[in-house]
Amino acid sequence: MRERVGIIDVTPIGKLDLRGADVPRLLNLLYVNKWSKLEIGRVRYGVMCAEDGVVLDDGVTGRLGAEHYLMSTTSSGAATIWEWAENWLQTEHPDWQVHVTPVTTAYASINVAGPRSRDLIERVTEGVDSTNEAFPYMHVRTGRIAGVDDCVLWRIGFTGELSYELHVPAGYGLHVWETLLERGADLGAAPFGVEAQRILRLEKGHLIVGQDTDGLTRAFSAGLDWAIKLDKDDFAGQPELAWQLAGGVGQRLVGLQPADGSVVPEEASQIIDDGRIAGRITSSRMSPALGRSVCLALVDGRFAEPGTVLTVRLPSGRRIEAMVTPQLAHVDPDGGRMRV
């Protein structure tokens, strides 16, 4: 996939159709970042927190029209976020004009990823100019895919590669899937699964809510400082996050690489400081791109500085050294591969 093009079925990703004049107000309330100026045709990554500031969900939301948005959630969070949005609308803001419709099962979703993904997209789409200039990174377009109308294309990059997330009317999912494989055969198009996706996203340092965070991880601890806009009028979790920032962030999510790159610490391995637990490995895999093991870890804030050497206790009791990396991304930290 890093060299050619792969496709993965990501249909379980939660999807909510949002319509109405007050959708930006709802997005500003649910997400920690700002949404008032999202232009039509753009998508933005967002993080949601519960009222205690703990990371609840994440995903991208795209603006399809003046008062029409499509929100994605984590697969496991689809029902929760629908209820979360409805709860805010029905109990706190019944005056807001927003209609939320769950459409997770209405679309079959396919991520087309890899350096040749644009070539494949050009072959199967109509009504969409897929050049980098016309359809840049973090944008959304609608059009016809493999003869199917009313499809949505997001140019986003969970895998860290040039990639397009296709959302097609669900009944046509198999037709589009087979067409992608048929038309991409000479490009090396092949399916890939969740394990490969997990490795790719870990190489890129993209966190997974619920794996790299837990029921106590507030947004600053997840390294989401860049997204949190405490100067917004209000959003779910704002007071707690302001309090977290004032009182010290506590744990921090960091990138981590074992000194011995052949060792892959098991997820949940403890990070030890002077005999005390100072954190844990949240994600770990052998990176095919780097030929070494890579990790994400939640550690005490005092150990989060890049270059810090930590002690990891493996399940066997053996202790190894690992170094905190300058950023979460182990591969392509500047994101150049996604923006070509």
Binding site: H99, A106, G147
Partner: protein, 285 residues
């Protein structure tokens, strides 16, 4: 940009996909399999009496659009169908009041754009009201259960009173069916003249009615006689041939991903009554 069915721009590129898009229901079609209106469906035909016999049909290819608007606004008035009721408009579309301020509109296959356009015009007439229409054709499964014993089948997996005095023809409700959130519409066949049993006039569904004439409040289903006031059906007697159960039919609407489960549950529940699979035929509504 591509040209379906052709070759690359230079004529030497890779072959273009040659097959027409084929839509698939989440419910596996019982053989023989055929294609109707661009959907893969079962071509099986039940041998039972089409009105009395117990059949189950996957109606997922039908167009399904959700409309939301203020429950007491102008759009609601134009639709003319209150929460808890269902009725057909002159174009043959079934409009169901599926929730407070929420309607489900069902039409023949391939009518999504016409239907949303009609609803958009309706919304435009209801100025200053938040009215939205979302095409859920591909997001939901739709199953029709028909026959004099259909209520007995449904009663095994749904706690709602299905007797005629509580849920007569034209009743619409959302409830747990086999532990699944399901919209249920009682939509009895009008004997041999019922819309579901007799194809509509060609092109009728493609010409939606004017908003002002959205629905006919009168019930369809002439074969169903009103229940005697106060009558309460006894267990196992919800529908009997030749009585109130004649032509009884239910539409069950659920999340697409749960469609196969619900179909299988109903098939198992109906086994003791001799249920048969009957393939989808247009217009189907």
């Amino acid at each position: 940009m591509s040209e379906r069915g052709g070759s690359g721009p230079s004529g030497s590129g890779p072959p273009r996909a040659s097959t027409e898009p084929l839509a698939r229901s989440p419910i596996a079609p019982a053989p023989p399999v055929t294609v109707v209106a661009g959907w893969e469906v079962s071509g099986r035909r039940a041998s039972a009496d089409p009105v009395v016999g117990l059949t189950i049909t996957d109606c997922t290819p039908l167009t399904k659009v959700q409309l939301r608007a203020p429950a007491a606004g102008g759009a609601a008035a134009a639709l003319g169908v209150p929460f808890g009721r269902a009725a057909r408009n002159p174009a043959g579309m079934l409009v169901a009041g599926s929730g407070p301020g929420e309607w489900l509109v069902i039409a023949s296959p391939g009518q999504g754009r016409q239907l949303t356009a009609w609803l958009a015009r309706l919304a435009a007439r209801a100025q200053d009201e938040p009215v939205t229409a979302v095409d859920l054709t591909h997001g939901r499964a739709l199953i029709r259960l028909t026959g004099s014993r259909s209520a007995d089948v449904l009663a095994k997996v749904c706690g709602i009173d299905l007797s005629d005095d509580i849920t007569p023809d034209g009743a619409a409700f959302r409830s747990s069916v086999a532990a699944l959130a399901t919209d249920v519409i009682r939509d009895d066949l009008g004997g041999q003249s019922g819309a579901a049993a007799q194809p509509a006039q060609p092109g009728a569904a493609a010409q939606p009615a004017q908003p002002g004439a959205a629905v006919q409040p009168a019930r369809r289903g002439a074969a169903v006689q009103p229940a005697r006031p106060g009558a309460v059906a006894q267990p196992g007697q919800l529908g009997r041939p030749g009585q109130a159960g004649r032509g009884r039919s239910y539409l069950l609407h659920c999340e697409r991903s749960s469609g196969q489960y619900l179909f299988d549950v109903l098939l198992r529940s109906g086994a003791e009554f001799g249920i048969e699979i009957d393939g989808f035929e247009p217009p189907g509504i």
